[in-house]
Amino acid sequence: MSDFIQHIKQLSAFFFASDAKGMKTAYVELAKLIPAPAVDDWSAVEFSFNRLFVGPRALLAPPYASIYLDNDQTRVMSESTIQIRQFYGLLGLVSPWLNKIPDDHIALELDALWQIDTALLNSDSPQLRDMRDYLLAHLQEWTPKFHQRIHAIDDVNPAILHIVDMLHQLLSQETSTTILKSIE
């Protein structure tokens, strides 16, 4: 569990990175937990990262949930984005980039998951568990498509592929264990 928390925090940090340095820091942290391929050229990672998630060219894999959950895949800030904002609201949380960065940005959603898990460490509230289940299910609904889309793109930097694979694997595992628990 606590390992999972660490992963989520660092994954969130990676997707939040605004430059190669930030990507490297998170990557190195994650490498401590799960062995990762060595990276020699970090600016190559950054170029690739920006083509996928940042711009200025049209994004190859926009990092926003609504793009994968809605039929409308060319609009951000949709209803489902606002629902995630409401969800943060229920947790008593709010994005500092309200109405600037869509609330369903992957890094923010992972951060929310991290916040819940950290809170659960010292207080086991059934409601919090329900909300964790919801967030996890929500992530598990779109991140596989996100993962798939990135894999469909030519010459994505291996470091980024490693990260999205890791994200995919962690969330899938966590979801299955959660479902098992919920069945008991």
Partner: protein
């Protein structure tokens, strides 16, 4: 009594497409989804290609074939004649596509349901015009009440539109007029 209908005046229509885009804008339709659009008249009907149009969406028929054939009752018709489709009830059997002579219902593959023009009944209930009608810069597209408004001088079945008295489409039309043309000889 009130019987709402669209009136499409092709003489006044300037083919600007504002009506169709106003509709997408009002309901934030998915890309690719179109409830209202312009249908250019073929040269047998109007002598110049792409220069005369019917702006068409749902014709809110008096005997709606969509409603009659819908197995789940997703369609209802209001007192005022507006045919409303309920996406939540719809199960996407597309039988209405097989029945509407005007191709008004559109299938949304992703959502697995059919969608169509609602004549903006919520706006009408608020005393507003449908988004498309409000958007029309020349009053070519108007909302009429067939029970009270004078629609003489309009036709129900113009060329370029199916003759279907069996479903009684409510839309009324005015035909386009072509100008005198002086061409250079080249």
């Amino acid at each position: 009594m009130t019987r709402y209908a669209f009136s499409v005046n092709a003489e006044l229509c300037i083919g600007c497409s504002s009506c169709g885009m106003a509709c997408k804008n009002q309901y934030n339709l998915d890309p690719g989804m179109v409830w209202r659009k312009l249908y250019p008249l073929s040269e047998e009907i109007y002598p110049h290609k792409d220069r005369a149009f019917y702006s068409l969406a749902c014709n809110h028929c008096s005997q709606p074939a969509c409603l009659e054939g819908c197995p789940v009752g997703a369609y209802t018709q209001r007192e005022d004649g507006i045919v409303v489709h309920n996406e939540d009830v719809c199960i996407g059997c597309r039988n209405c596509l097989r029945n509407c002579p005007f191709g008004a219902p559109r299938y949304n593959e992703e959502e697995g349901h059919v969608e169509k023009c609602s004549m903006c009944w919520q706006r009408i209930d608020e005393g507003l015009l449908p988004a498309c009608v409000q958007a029309c810069p020349t009053n070519a597209l108007t909302l009429v009440d067939l029970d009270t408004d004078d629609v003489s001088g309009t036709v129900q079945y113009p060329p370029g539109f199916p003759y279907r008295p069996d479903v009684e489409p409510s839309t009324r039309f005015v035909l386009p007029v072509a100008p005198k043309v002086v061409r250079r000889d080249v």
